[in-house]
Protein backbone atom coordinates (compact mmCIF):
# COMPACT_ATOMS: atom_id res chain seq x y z
CA UNK A 1 0.00 0.00 0.00
CA UNK A 2 1.42 3.42 -0.92
CA UNK A 3 1.74 6.39 1.41
CA UNK A 4 -1.56 7.91 0.27
CA UNK A 5 -3.46 4.69 0.79
CA UNK A 6 -3.53 3.78 -2.91
CA UNK A 7 -2.37 0.25 -3.65
CA UNK A 8 1.17 0.53 -5.04
CA UNK A 9 2.09 -1.08 -8.41
CA UNK A 10 4.64 -3.86 -8.05
CA UNK A 11 7.72 -3.19 -10.09
CA UNK A 12 9.82 -6.17 -9.04
CA UNK A 13 8.63 -9.55 -7.82
CA UNK A 14 11.39 -11.85 -6.58
CA UNK A 15 10.35 -15.43 -5.78
CA UNK A 16 12.51 -18.13 -4.29
CA UNK A 17 15.70 -16.67 -5.67
CA UNK A 18 18.93 -18.40 -4.77
CA UNK A 19 22.33 -17.69 -6.21
CA UNK A 20 25.36 -19.89 -6.02
CA UNK A 21 28.81 -19.19 -7.42
CA UNK A 22 32.05 -21.08 -7.56
CA UNK A 23 35.02 -19.98 -5.49
CA UNK A 24 37.91 -22.20 -6.45
CA UNK A 25 36.82 -25.74 -5.76
CA UNK A 26 34.02 -24.65 -3.44
CA UNK A 27 30.64 -23.16 -4.13
CA UNK A 28 29.20 -20.28 -2.14
CA UNK A 29 25.48 -19.66 -1.58
CA UNK A 30 25.24 -15.89 -1.89
CA UNK A 31 21.42 -15.91 -1.77
CA UNK A 32 19.07 -18.53 -0.32
CA UNK A 33 15.39 -18.57 -1.24
CA UNK A 34 14.86 -14.79 -1.30
CA UNK A 35 11.33 -13.46 -1.71
CA UNK A 36 10.92 -9.73 -2.21
CA UNK A 37 8.57 -7.23 -3.80
CA UNK A 38 9.58 -3.74 -4.82
CA UNK A 39 6.85 -1.21 -5.49
CA UNK A 40 7.12 1.35 -8.25
CA UNK A 41 8.35 4.67 -6.88
CA UNK A 42 9.73 3.10 -3.73
CA UNK A 43 12.94 4.30 -2.03
CA UNK A 44 14.11 0.93 -0.79
CA UNK A 45 17.26 0.05 1.11
CA UNK A 46 18.69 -3.44 1.27
CA UNK A 47 20.84 -3.52 4.37
CA UNK A 48 23.15 -6.08 5.82
CA UNK A 49 26.73 -6.75 6.86
CA UNK A 50 29.50 -7.29 4.31
CA UNK A 51 29.07 -10.60 2.50
CA UNK A 52 25.38 -10.84 3.33
CA UNK A 53 24.32 -10.94 -0.34
CA UNK A 54 22.92 -7.44 -0.79
CA UNK A 55 25.12 -6.63 -3.79
CA UNK A 56 24.27 -10.01 -5.33
CA UNK A 57 20.58 -9.31 -4.90
CA UNK A 58 21.03 -5.89 -6.48
CA UNK A 59 22.92 -7.46 -9.40
CA UNK A 60 20.10 -9.92 -9.93
CA UNK A 61 17.52 -7.12 -9.92
CA UNK A 62 19.68 -5.32 -12.47
CA UNK A 63 20.01 -8.49 -14.58
CA UNK A 64 23.77 -8.33 -14.24
CA UNK A 65 23.65 -11.91 -12.94
CA UNK A 66 21.17 -14.74 -13.33
CA UNK A 67 19.72 -16.45 -10.27
CA UNK A 68 20.67 -20.09 -9.84
CA UNK A 69 17.07 -20.78 -8.77
CA UNK A 70 13.82 -18.84 -8.59
CA UNK A 71 12.29 -16.11 -10.74
CA UNK A 72 12.52 -12.39 -11.03
CA UNK A 73 9.66 -10.49 -12.61
CA UNK A 74 9.86 -6.93 -13.80
CA UNK A 75 6.45 -5.46 -14.43
CA UNK A 76 5.07 -8.99 -14.40
CA UNK A 77 7.47 -10.32 -17.05
CA UNK A 78 9.91 -13.07 -16.08
CA UNK A 79 13.35 -11.67 -16.76
CA UNK A 80 15.35 -14.55 -15.28
CA UNK A 81 15.34 -16.52 -18.50
CA UNK A 82 15.88 -13.72 -21.02
CA UNK A 83 18.79 -13.93 -23.44
CA UNK A 84 21.90 -11.82 -22.99
CA UNK A 85 20.78 -9.45 -25.74
CA UNK A 86 17.28 -9.05 -24.28
CA UNK A 87 18.68 -8.30 -20.85
CA UNK A 88 21.11 -5.76 -22.35
CA UNK A 89 18.22 -4.00 -24.09
CA UNK A 90 16.11 -4.01 -20.96
CA UNK A 91 18.90 -2.49 -18.88
CA UNK A 92 19.43 0.18 -21.52
CA UNK A 93 15.77 1.16 -21.55
CA UNK A 94 14.61 0.76 -17.96
CA UNK A 95 17.43 0.59 -15.45
CA UNK A 96 20.05 3.05 -14.27
CA UNK A 97 23.05 2.18 -12.13
CA UNK A 98 25.04 4.10 -9.55
CA UNK A 99 28.22 2.51 -8.28
CA UNK A 100 30.39 3.05 -5.24
CA UNK A 101 33.43 3.64 -7.47
CA UNK A 102 31.48 6.02 -9.79
CA UNK A 103 32.95 4.35 -12.94
CA UNK A 104 33.00 7.52 -15.01
CA UNK A 105 34.92 7.50 -18.31
CA UNK A 106 38.06 9.49 -17.46
CA UNK A 107 38.69 10.99 -20.91
CA UNK A 108 35.18 12.45 -21.19
CA UNK A 109 33.83 15.56 -19.50
CA UNK A 110 30.86 15.42 -17.16
CA UNK A 111 28.59 16.48 -20.01
CA UNK A 112 30.02 13.79 -22.30
CA UNK A 113 29.80 11.08 -19.66
CA UNK A 114 26.07 11.72 -19.41
CA UNK A 115 25.54 12.31 -23.12
CA UNK A 116 27.31 9.05 -24.05
CA UNK A 117 24.29 6.94 -23.19
CA UNK A 118 21.95 9.05 -25.30
CA UNK A 119 24.04 8.73 -28.44
CA UNK A 120 22.35 5.60 -29.66
CA UNK A 121 18.84 6.90 -29.15
CA UNK A 122 18.55 8.66 -32.50
CA UNK A 123 17.85 11.98 -30.78
CA UNK A 124 18.64 15.21 -32.50
CA UNK A 125 21.80 16.82 -31.19
CA UNK A 126 19.90 19.79 -29.69
CA UNK A 127 17.41 17.50 -27.92
CA UNK A 128 20.20 15.35 -26.51
CA UNK A 129 22.02 18.47 -25.32
CA UNK A 130 18.87 19.82 -23.70
CA UNK A 131 18.26 16.59 -21.81
CA UNK A 132 21.83 16.32 -20.62
CA UNK A 133 21.88 19.89 -19.35
CA UNK A 134 18.51 19.40 -17.68
CA UNK A 135 19.64 16.36 -15.75
CA UNK A 136 22.97 17.97 -14.82
CA UNK A 137 20.95 20.93 -13.55
CA UNK A 138 18.71 18.57 -11.59
CA UNK A 139 21.66 17.01 -9.80
CA UNK A 140 23.30 20.40 -9.23
CA UNK A 141 26.44 19.88 -11.32
CA UNK A 142 25.77 21.89 -14.49
CA UNK A 143 28.56 24.34 -13.62
CA UNK A 144 31.14 21.55 -13.88
CA UNK A 145 29.77 20.15 -17.12
CA UNK A 146 33.03 20.81 -18.96
CA UNK A 147 35.28 19.24 -16.35
CA UNK A 148 36.76 15.77 -16.49
CA UNK A 149 36.38 13.36 -13.57
CA UNK A 150 39.94 13.91 -12.36
CA UNK A 151 39.09 17.60 -11.95
CA UNK A 152 36.10 16.89 -9.68
CA UNK A 153 35.54 15.98 -6.07
CA UNK A 154 34.05 12.62 -5.08
CA UNK A 155 30.67 14.19 -4.47
CA UNK A 156 30.67 15.84 -7.88
CA UNK A 157 31.61 12.59 -9.57
CA UNK A 158 28.79 10.76 -7.87
CA UNK A 159 26.36 13.48 -8.97
CA UNK A 160 27.54 12.97 -12.53
CA UNK A 161 27.02 9.24 -12.09
CA UNK A 162 23.48 9.86 -10.84
CA UNK A 163 22.85 12.15 -13.81
CA UNK A 164 24.13 9.43 -16.12
CA UNK A 165 21.72 6.95 -14.51
CA UNK A 166 18.78 9.39 -14.77
CA UNK A 167 19.26 10.81 -18.27
CA UNK A 168 17.47 7.92 -19.97
CA UNK A 169 14.38 8.26 -17.69
CA UNK A 170 14.75 4.82 -16.16
CA UNK A 171 12.04 3.07 -14.19
CA UNK A 172 14.49 2.13 -11.49
CA UNK A 173 17.93 3.20 -10.32
CA UNK A 174 19.99 0.53 -8.59
CA UNK A 175 22.69 2.01 -6.39
CA UNK A 176 25.36 -0.15 -4.79
CA UNK A 177 26.89 1.61 -1.77
CA UNK A 178 26.69 5.03 -3.51
CA UNK A 179 27.92 6.95 -0.47
CA UNK A 180 30.65 4.58 0.74
CA UNK A 181 33.44 6.59 -0.91
CA UNK A 182 32.11 9.96 0.23
CA UNK A 183 32.63 11.97 3.37
CA UNK A 184 29.80 12.68 5.76
CA UNK A 185 28.47 15.95 4.38
CA UNK A 186 28.88 14.91 0.78
CA UNK A 187 27.22 11.58 1.37
CA UNK A 188 24.28 13.29 3.01
CA UNK A 189 23.94 15.67 0.08
CA UNK A 190 23.93 12.76 -2.38
CA UNK A 191 21.28 10.91 -0.38
CA UNK A 192 19.13 14.04 -0.29
CA UNK A 193 19.52 14.46 -4.01
CA UNK A 194 18.42 10.92 -4.76
CA UNK A 195 15.48 11.26 -2.39
CA UNK A 196 14.41 14.43 -4.14
CA UNK A 197 14.65 12.73 -7.56
CA UNK A 198 12.61 9.86 -6.22
CA UNK A 199 9.89 12.21 -5.00
CA UNK A 200 9.85 14.53 -8.00
CA UNK A 201 10.17 12.00 -10.80
CA UNK A 202 8.72 8.89 -9.26
CA UNK A 203 11.81 6.86 -10.10
CA UNK A 204 12.23 3.77 -7.97
CA UNK A 205 15.52 3.68 -6.05
CA UNK A 206 16.91 0.46 -4.63
CA UNK A 207 20.10 0.66 -2.58
CA UNK A 208 22.50 -1.92 -1.30
CA UNK A 209 23.92 -0.11 1.68
CA UNK A 210 24.78 0.01 5.31
CA UNK A 211 24.87 3.82 5.37
CA UNK A 212 22.55 4.97 8.20
CA UNK A 213 21.68 8.12 6.29
CA UNK A 214 20.18 6.10 3.46
CA UNK A 215 18.50 3.77 5.89
CA UNK A 216 16.96 6.76 7.62
CA UNK A 217 15.69 8.21 4.32
CA UNK A 218 14.35 4.92 2.97
CA UNK A 219 10.65 4.16 2.67
CA UNK A 220 11.46 0.59 3.67
CA UNK A 221 14.53 -1.30 4.78
CA UNK A 222 14.99 -4.96 3.89
CA UNK A 223 17.49 -6.70 6.17
CA UNK A 224 19.51 -9.45 4.58
CA UNK A 225 21.85 -11.80 6.40
CA UNK A 226 23.79 -14.76 5.17
CA UNK A 227 21.83 -14.67 1.90
CA UNK A 228 18.40 -14.66 3.55
CA UNK A 229 15.89 -11.87 3.92
CA UNK A 230 15.16 -11.39 7.59
CA UNK A 231 11.53 -10.91 8.63
Amino acid sequence: MGANGVRAVTLYEVQGVSHRYALGRHSVDALRGVDLEVAAGEFLAIAGPSGSGKTTLLNILGMLERPSEGTVRLDGANVSTLSELQRTRLRRERIGFVFQAFHLIPVLTAFENVEYFLLKRNLRAEEARRRVLAVLEAVGIVGAAGQRPNEMSGGQRQRVAIARAMVRDPDVVLADEPTAALDGATGLAVVSLMKRLNRERGVTFVFATHDPRILAAADRVVQIEDGRVMR
Partner: protein
Protein backbone atom coordinates in the same frame (compact mmCIF):
# COMPACT_ATOMS: atom_id res chain seq x y z
CA UNK B 1 39.75 9.29 -30.15
CA UNK B 2 40.75 10.60 -26.74
CA UNK B 3 40.77 7.00 -25.63
CA UNK B 4 43.66 6.35 -28.03
CA UNK B 5 45.91 8.46 -25.80
CA UNK B 6 44.18 7.73 -22.51
CA UNK B 7 47.31 6.04 -21.18
CA UNK B 8 50.13 7.91 -22.83
CA UNK B 9 52.83 5.41 -21.97
CA UNK B 10 50.92 2.46 -23.41
CA UNK B 11 49.85 4.43 -26.43
CA UNK B 12 53.38 5.60 -27.15
CA UNK B 13 54.66 2.07 -26.81
CA UNK B 14 52.04 0.79 -29.21
CA UNK B 15 52.68 3.66 -31.63
CA UNK B 16 56.43 3.02 -31.51
CA UNK B 17 55.87 -0.68 -32.23
CA UNK B 18 53.67 0.09 -35.18
CA UNK B 19 55.85 2.91 -36.51
CA UNK B 20 59.03 0.86 -36.31
CA UNK B 21 57.31 -2.07 -37.95
CA UNK B 22 55.99 0.18 -40.70
CA UNK B 23 59.42 1.71 -41.27
CA UNK B 24 61.03 -1.69 -41.43
CA UNK B 25 58.36 -3.03 -43.76
CA UNK B 26 58.48 -0.05 -46.11
CA UNK B 27 62.27 0.00 -46.39
CA UNK B 28 62.33 -3.77 -46.78
CA UNK B 29 59.69 -3.67 -49.51
CA UNK B 30 61.63 -0.88 -51.20
CA UNK B 31 64.78 -2.98 -51.00
CA UNK B 32 62.89 -5.92 -52.46
CA UNK B 33 61.48 -3.81 -55.27
CA UNK B 34 64.89 -2.24 -55.94
CA UNK B 35 66.45 -5.69 -56.11
CA UNK B 36 63.82 -6.93 -58.52
CA UNK B 37 64.00 -3.77 -60.62
CA UNK B 38 67.78 -4.01 -60.87
CA UNK B 39 67.69 -7.68 -61.69
CA UNK B 40 64.95 -7.20 -64.27
CA UNK B 41 66.75 -4.30 -65.90
CA UNK B 42 70.00 -6.26 -66.08
CA UNK B 43 68.23 -9.24 -67.61
CA UNK B 44 66.23 -7.18 -70.13
CA UNK B 45 68.99 -4.85 -71.16
CA UNK B 46 71.85 -7.31 -71.28
CA UNK B 47 70.33 -10.30 -73.07
CA UNK B 48 66.71 -10.70 -73.93
CA UNK B 49 64.98 -7.41 -74.42
CA UNK B 50 61.47 -7.36 -72.95
CA UNK B 51 60.73 -10.49 -74.93
CA UNK B 52 61.18 -12.06 -78.31
CA UNK B 53 59.09 -13.08 -81.30
CA UNK B 54 59.54 -16.51 -82.90
CA UNK B 55 57.76 -18.44 -85.61
CA UNK B 56 54.85 -20.08 -83.81
CA UNK B 57 55.76 -23.62 -82.74
CA UNK B 58 59.48 -23.18 -83.44
CA UNK B 59 60.57 -23.37 -79.79
CA UNK B 60 58.72 -26.60 -79.15
CA UNK B 61 60.88 -28.79 -81.40
CA UNK B 62 64.47 -29.48 -82.39
CA UNK B 63 65.50 -29.32 -86.05
CA UNK B 64 68.42 -30.53 -88.11
CA UNK B 65 68.30 -27.30 -90.15
CA UNK B 66 66.58 -24.90 -87.74
CA UNK B 67 67.08 -21.82 -89.97
CA UNK B 68 64.51 -23.29 -92.36
CA UNK B 69 61.91 -22.60 -89.65
CA UNK B 70 63.01 -19.03 -89.03
CA UNK B 71 61.31 -15.72 -89.85
CA UNK B 72 61.33 -14.82 -93.52
CA UNK B 73 61.44 -11.34 -94.90
CA UNK B 74 62.49 -10.00 -91.53
CA UNK B 75 62.57 -6.32 -92.57
CA UNK B 76 58.90 -6.38 -93.53
CA UNK B 77 57.98 -8.21 -90.35
CA UNK B 78 59.98 -5.73 -88.25
CA UNK B 79 58.09 -2.85 -89.91
CA UNK B 80 54.80 -4.46 -88.84
CA UNK B 81 56.11 -5.06 -85.33
CA UNK B 82 57.14 -1.40 -84.96
CA UNK B 83 53.48 -0.43 -85.51
CA UNK B 84 52.40 -2.37 -82.43
CA UNK B 85 51.71 -0.52 -79.14
CA UNK B 86 54.56 0.31 -76.74
CA UNK B 87 57.31 -0.87 -79.15
CA UNK B 88 60.47 1.23 -78.92
CA UNK B 89 62.73 -0.88 -81.13
CA UNK B 90 63.08 -4.31 -82.75
CA UNK B 91 66.31 -6.30 -82.99
CA UNK B 92 66.79 -9.21 -85.40
CA UNK B 93 68.79 -12.11 -83.98
CA UNK B 94 70.22 -15.35 -85.22
CA UNK B 95 71.35 -18.17 -82.93
CA UNK B 96 74.59 -19.78 -84.00
CA UNK B 97 76.33 -22.66 -82.22
CA UNK B 98 79.97 -22.62 -83.15
CA UNK B 99 83.49 -23.47 -82.13
CA UNK B 100 85.81 -20.55 -81.53
CA UNK B 101 89.45 -21.05 -82.43
CA UNK B 102 92.42 -18.93 -81.44
CA UNK B 103 95.81 -20.37 -82.15
CA UNK B 104 95.81 -23.93 -80.85
CA UNK B 105 92.90 -23.34 -78.46
CA UNK B 106 89.29 -24.14 -79.22
CA UNK B 107 86.17 -23.45 -77.21
CA UNK B 108 82.59 -24.44 -78.01
CA UNK B 109 80.16 -21.59 -77.69
CA UNK B 110 76.57 -20.55 -78.22
CA UNK B 111 76.54 -17.32 -80.15
CA UNK B 112 74.11 -14.77 -81.52
CA UNK B 113 74.23 -12.79 -84.69
CA UNK B 114 72.98 -9.29 -83.86
CA UNK B 115 72.60 -5.86 -85.39
CA UNK B 116 75.47 -4.22 -83.51
CA UNK B 117 74.58 -0.62 -84.27
CA UNK B 118 70.92 -0.91 -83.30
CA UNK B 119 71.51 -3.10 -80.23
CA UNK B 120 74.13 -0.76 -78.80
CA UNK B 121 71.35 1.82 -78.26
CA UNK B 122 69.30 -0.42 -75.96
CA UNK B 123 71.41 -3.27 -74.64
CA UNK B 124 73.60 -1.13 -72.42
CA UNK B 125 73.70 -3.35 -69.33
CA UNK B 126 76.17 -5.81 -70.76
CA UNK B 127 79.10 -5.30 -68.47
CA UNK B 128 82.21 -4.87 -70.62
CA UNK B 129 85.40 -5.43 -68.71
CA UNK B 130 87.46 -4.78 -71.82
CA UNK B 131 86.57 -2.91 -75.02
CA UNK B 132 82.91 -2.63 -76.05
CA UNK B 133 80.23 -3.39 -78.66
CA UNK B 134 81.37 -4.01 -82.21
CA UNK B 135 78.65 -1.56 -83.38
CA UNK B 136 79.26 -1.16 -87.14
CA UNK B 137 82.50 -3.19 -87.25
CA UNK B 138 81.79 -5.64 -90.11
CA UNK B 139 83.65 -8.55 -88.51
CA UNK B 140 83.80 -7.86 -84.85
CA UNK B 141 83.07 -10.27 -81.99
CA UNK B 142 82.28 -9.74 -78.31
CA UNK B 143 82.55 -12.69 -75.97
CA UNK B 144 82.07 -13.67 -72.35
CA UNK B 145 85.02 -13.48 -70.01
CA UNK B 146 85.10 -17.26 -69.67
CA UNK B 147 85.57 -17.76 -73.41
CA UNK B 148 88.18 -15.03 -73.66
CA UNK B 149 90.19 -16.55 -70.86
CA UNK B 150 89.87 -20.05 -72.32
CA UNK B 151 91.08 -18.81 -75.72
CA UNK B 152 93.66 -16.51 -74.21
CA UNK B 153 92.51 -13.57 -76.34
CA UNK B 154 92.09 -9.88 -75.66
CA UNK B 155 90.60 -6.92 -77.52
CA UNK B 156 92.19 -6.64 -80.96
CA UNK B 157 93.01 -10.34 -81.28
CA UNK B 158 91.59 -12.44 -84.11
CA UNK B 159 89.38 -15.45 -83.55
CA UNK B 160 87.95 -17.98 -86.03
CA UNK B 161 84.28 -18.84 -85.81
CA UNK B 162 83.70 -22.34 -87.15
CA UNK B 163 80.26 -23.83 -87.82
CA UNK B 164 79.02 -27.09 -89.29
CA UNK B 165 78.47 -30.61 -87.99
CA UNK B 166 77.19 -33.96 -89.18
CA UNK B 167 76.19 -33.59 -92.83
CA UNK B 168 76.59 -29.79 -92.75
CA UNK B 169 79.63 -28.30 -94.46
CA UNK B 170 82.26 -26.70 -92.27
CA UNK B 171 82.37 -22.96 -92.64
CA UNK B 172 84.65 -20.55 -90.93
CA UNK B 173 85.14 -16.82 -90.71
CA UNK B 174 87.78 -14.72 -89.00
CA UNK B 175 86.56 -12.00 -86.67
CA UNK B 176 88.29 -9.49 -84.43
CA UNK B 177 87.66 -9.22 -80.66
CA UNK B 178 86.19 -5.79 -79.86
CA UNK B 179 84.92 -6.47 -76.37
CA UNK B 180 84.94 -8.91 -73.45
CA UNK B 181 81.90 -8.89 -71.14
CA UNK B 182 81.07 -10.29 -67.74
CA UNK B 183 77.34 -10.60 -66.89
CA UNK B 184 77.97 -12.25 -63.57
CA UNK B 185 76.36 -15.52 -64.67
CA UNK B 186 79.26 -17.93 -65.02
CA UNK B 187 77.48 -20.35 -67.31
CA UNK B 188 76.64 -17.56 -69.75
CA UNK B 189 80.02 -15.86 -69.59
CA UNK B 190 81.81 -19.10 -70.47
CA UNK B 191 79.71 -19.87 -73.59
CA UNK B 192 78.22 -16.70 -75.05
CA UNK B 193 79.53 -14.61 -77.91
CA UNK B 194 78.06 -12.17 -80.41
CA UNK B 195 78.97 -11.45 -84.01
CA UNK B 196 77.37 -9.19 -86.64
CA UNK B 197 74.06 -10.47 -87.99
CA UNK B 198 75.32 -10.56 -91.57
CA UNK B 199 78.36 -12.68 -90.61
CA UNK B 200 76.14 -15.19 -88.77
CA UNK B 201 73.67 -15.36 -91.63
CA UNK B 202 76.57 -15.84 -94.03
CA UNK B 203 77.90 -18.77 -92.03
CA UNK B 204 74.47 -20.37 -91.99
CA UNK B 205 73.72 -19.46 -95.59
CA UNK B 206 70.36 -17.91 -94.75
CA UNK B 207 68.76 -14.48 -94.87
CA UNK B 208 66.20 -15.40 -92.27
CA UNK B 209 66.28 -14.46 -88.60
CA UNK B 210 65.61 -16.78 -85.69
CA UNK B 211 64.02 -14.24 -83.40
CA UNK B 212 63.09 -10.58 -83.03
CA UNK B 213 64.07 -9.13 -79.67
CA UNK B 214 61.66 -6.40 -78.60
CA UNK B 215 62.36 -3.23 -76.63
CA UNK B 216 59.18 -1.78 -75.10
CA UNK B 217 58.48 1.42 -73.21
CA UNK B 218 58.58 -0.60 -69.98
CA UNK B 219 58.19 -4.08 -68.51
CA UNK B 220 54.54 -3.51 -67.69
CA UNK B 221 53.83 -2.92 -71.40
CA UNK B 222 54.39 -6.56 -72.34
CA UNK B 223 50.77 -7.82 -71.94
CA UNK B 224 49.42 -5.09 -74.23
CA UNK B 225 52.15 -5.76 -76.77
CA UNK B 226 51.65 -9.54 -76.67
CA UNK B 227 47.91 -9.17 -77.16
CA UNK B 228 48.39 -6.88 -80.17
CA UNK B 229 51.05 -9.19 -81.61
CA UNK B 230 48.69 -12.18 -81.40
CA UNK B 231 46.19 -10.31 -83.56
CA UNK B 232 48.52 -8.56 -85.97
CA UNK B 233 51.10 -11.34 -86.35
CA UNK B 234 49.31 -14.66 -85.69
CA UNK B 235 52.13 -16.60 -87.36
CA UNK B 236 54.52 -15.46 -84.62
CA UNK B 237 54.69 -16.30 -80.94
CA UNK B 238 55.57 -13.62 -78.38
CA UNK B 239 57.62 -14.92 -75.46
CA UNK B 240 58.38 -12.63 -72.49
CA UNK B 241 61.90 -12.39 -71.14
CA UNK B 242 61.07 -14.09 -67.83
CA UNK B 243 59.88 -17.12 -69.77
CA UNK B 244 63.04 -17.10 -71.91
CA UNK B 245 65.21 -16.82 -68.81
CA UNK B 246 63.11 -19.10 -66.64
CA UNK B 247 66.00 -20.97 -65.07
CA UNK B 248 67.81 -17.94 -63.73
CA UNK B 249 65.46 -15.00 -63.73
CA UNK B 250 62.05 -16.57 -63.05
CA UNK B 251 63.34 -19.04 -60.49
CA UNK B 252 65.50 -16.38 -58.83
CA UNK B 253 62.53 -14.03 -58.63
CA UNK B 254 60.27 -16.77 -57.23
CA UNK B 255 62.89 -17.74 -54.68
CA UNK B 256 63.51 -14.15 -53.62
CA UNK B 257 59.76 -13.47 -53.46
CA UNK B 258 59.26 -16.45 -51.16
CA UNK B 259 62.13 -15.34 -48.95
CA UNK B 260 60.89 -11.75 -48.80
CA UNK B 261 57.36 -12.91 -48.00
CA UNK B 262 58.66 -14.93 -45.07
CA UNK B 263 60.71 -12.03 -43.71
CA UNK B 264 57.75 -9.71 -44.18
CA UNK B 265 55.56 -12.04 -42.16
CA UNK B 266 58.14 -12.12 -39.37
CA UNK B 267 58.18 -8.31 -39.24
CA UNK B 268 54.38 -8.27 -39.14
CA UNK B 269 54.34 -10.85 -36.37
CA UNK B 270 56.73 -8.76 -34.26
CA UNK B 271 54.53 -5.71 -34.80
CA UNK B 272 51.47 -7.79 -33.88
CA UNK B 273 53.12 -8.93 -30.64
CA UNK B 274 54.03 -5.37 -29.72
CA UNK B 275 50.49 -4.17 -30.35
CA UNK B 276 48.96 -7.15 -28.56
CA UNK B 277 51.02 -6.36 -25.49
CA UNK B 278 50.18 -2.65 -25.46
CA UNK B 279 46.50 -3.10 -26.26
CA UNK B 280 46.09 -5.95 -23.77
CA UNK B 281 47.34 -3.70 -20.98
CA UNK B 282 45.02 -0.91 -22.05
CA UNK B 283 41.97 -3.15 -22.32
CA UNK B 284 42.63 -4.83 -18.97
CA UNK B 285 42.91 -1.40 -17.36
CA UNK B 286 39.44 -0.63 -18.71
CA UNK B 287 37.80 -3.83 -17.44
CA UNK B 288 35.72 -2.01 -14.84
CA UNK B 289 34.73 0.61 -17.39
CA UNK B 290 33.70 -2.13 -19.81
CA UNK B 291 31.63 -3.62 -17.01
CA UNK B 292 29.96 -0.25 -16.43
CA UNK B 293 29.19 0.13 -20.13
CA UNK B 294 27.67 -3.33 -20.31
CA UNK B 295 25.67 -2.69 -17.14
CA UNK B 296 24.26 0.43 -18.77
CA UNK B 297 23.11 -1.44 -21.85
CA UNK B 298 26.08 -1.45 -24.21
CA UNK B 299 26.34 -4.80 -25.96
CA UNK B 300 29.60 -6.73 -26.34
CA UNK B 301 29.59 -5.98 -30.05
CA UNK B 302 29.23 -2.24 -29.47
CA UNK B 303 32.09 -2.23 -26.99
CA UNK B 304 34.24 -4.33 -29.32
CA UNK B 305 33.55 -1.93 -32.18
CA UNK B 306 34.71 1.00 -30.05
CA UNK B 307 37.98 -0.76 -29.27
CA UNK B 308 38.44 -1.84 -32.89
CA UNK B 309 38.03 1.77 -34.05
CA UNK B 310 40.57 2.91 -31.48
CA UNK B 311 42.99 0.19 -32.59
CA UNK B 312 42.48 1.17 -36.23
CA UNK B 313 43.21 4.81 -35.36
CA UNK B 314 46.38 3.73 -33.56
CA UNK B 315 47.38 1.62 -36.54
CA UNK B 316 46.73 4.49 -38.94
CA UNK B 317 48.70 6.99 -36.88
CA UNK B 318 51.57 4.60 -36.22
CA UNK B 319 51.59 3.55 -39.85
CA UNK B 320 51.78 7.15 -41.05
CA UNK B 321 54.65 7.87 -38.66
CA UNK B 322 56.42 4.76 -39.90
CA UNK B 323 55.91 5.72 -43.54
CA UNK B 324 57.36 9.17 -42.90
CA UNK B 325 60.43 7.80 -41.18
CA UNK B 326 60.82 5.07 -43.82
CA UNK B 327 60.72 7.67 -46.58
CA UNK B 328 63.21 9.85 -44.69
CA UNK B 329 65.55 6.88 -44.39
CA UNK B 330 65.29 5.97 -48.05
CA UNK B 331 65.82 9.54 -49.23
CA UNK B 332 68.48 10.27 -46.62
CA UNK B 333 71.06 7.81 -45.37
CA UNK B 334 70.03 5.11 -47.86
CA UNK B 335 69.68 7.33 -50.94
CA UNK B 336 72.80 5.84 -52.56
CA UNK B 337 71.49 2.34 -52.14
CA UNK B 338 72.95 -0.69 -50.46
CA UNK B 339 76.00 -2.48 -51.89
CA UNK B 340 75.28 -6.19 -52.09
CA UNK B 341 77.85 -8.95 -52.68
CA UNK B 342 77.45 -11.27 -55.69
CA UNK B 343 74.49 -13.62 -55.41
CA UNK B 344 75.00 -17.40 -55.70
CA UNK B 345 76.11 -18.27 -59.23
CA UNK B 346 77.07 -14.70 -60.02
CA UNK B 347 80.39 -12.96 -60.03
CA UNK B 348 79.26 -9.35 -59.92
CA UNK B 349 77.82 -7.54 -56.94
CA UNK B 350 74.90 -5.10 -57.16
CA UNK B 351 74.05 -1.75 -55.62
CA UNK B 352 70.39 -1.88 -54.69
CA UNK B 353 68.51 1.41 -54.57
CA UNK B 354 65.53 1.48 -52.20
CA UNK B 355 62.64 1.85 -54.65
CA UNK B 356 59.56 3.17 -52.80
CA UNK B 357 56.16 3.02 -54.44
CA UNK B 358 52.73 4.39 -53.59
CA UNK B 359 51.22 0.92 -53.60
CA UNK B 360 53.85 -0.29 -51.14
CA UNK B 361 53.00 2.59 -48.81
CA UNK B 362 49.32 1.77 -49.10
CA UNK B 363 50.00 -1.89 -48.38
CA UNK B 364 52.10 -1.03 -45.32
CA UNK B 365 49.43 1.33 -43.98
CA UNK B 366 46.72 -1.27 -44.52
CA UNK B 367 48.82 -3.96 -42.82
CA UNK B 368 49.41 -1.66 -39.83
CA UNK B 369 45.70 -1.00 -39.43
CA UNK B 370 44.76 -4.65 -39.89
CA UNK B 371 47.47 -5.83 -37.50
CA UNK B 372 46.39 -3.28 -34.89
CA UNK B 373 42.81 -4.47 -35.15
CA UNK B 374 43.91 -8.09 -34.98
CA UNK B 375 46.02 -7.31 -31.93
CA UNK B 376 43.05 -5.90 -30.03
CA UNK B 377 40.50 -8.58 -30.87
CA UNK B 378 41.66 -11.23 -28.41
CA UNK B 379 41.98 -8.97 -25.34
CA UNK B 380 38.66 -7.29 -26.13
CA UNK B 381 36.91 -10.61 -26.66
CA UNK B 382 38.24 -11.94 -23.39
CA UNK B 383 37.45 -8.82 -21.39
CA UNK B 384 33.88 -8.48 -22.70
CA UNK B 385 33.21 -12.06 -21.70
CA UNK B 386 34.02 -11.40 -18.06
CA UNK B 387 30.74 -11.41 -16.07
CA UNK B 388 29.56 -7.83 -15.55
CA UNK B 389 29.54 -8.04 -11.76
CA UNK B 390 33.09 -9.41 -11.79
CA UNK B 391 34.26 -6.74 -14.24
CA UNK B 392 32.83 -3.98 -12.05
CA UNK B 393 34.91 -5.23 -9.13
CA UNK B 394 38.11 -5.12 -11.21
CA UNK B 395 40.57 -2.66 -9.68
Amino acid sequence: MRNVFRNRRHSLFALASIAMGATGLLVFMGFNRGTMDQYRSDTVRSRWGHGQLYVRGYRDSAYTRPWEKWIEDSEAVMQRVRQLPEVVDVFPRVGIPAVLVAGDRTVAGQGEGVDGVREARFFDQLNYIEGGDFKDHPSGIVMGQGIAEALGVRVGDDVQVVTGSGNMPIRRVTVSVTGVFRTGIQEFDSRAFRIPLAVAQGLLRTDRVEALAIALSGSTAWPAFAKAARTALPELEAVPFDELDKVYYRHAVDWLDAQFAFIKSIILFMVFLGILNAVSMTVVERTAEIGMLRANGESRIEIAITHVVEAAALGLLGGCLGLLSGWALALGPLRHGIAMPPAPGLTRGLRIVIALGFHDALEVLTLCIVTSIAGCLLPVWRTTRIPIAQALRHA
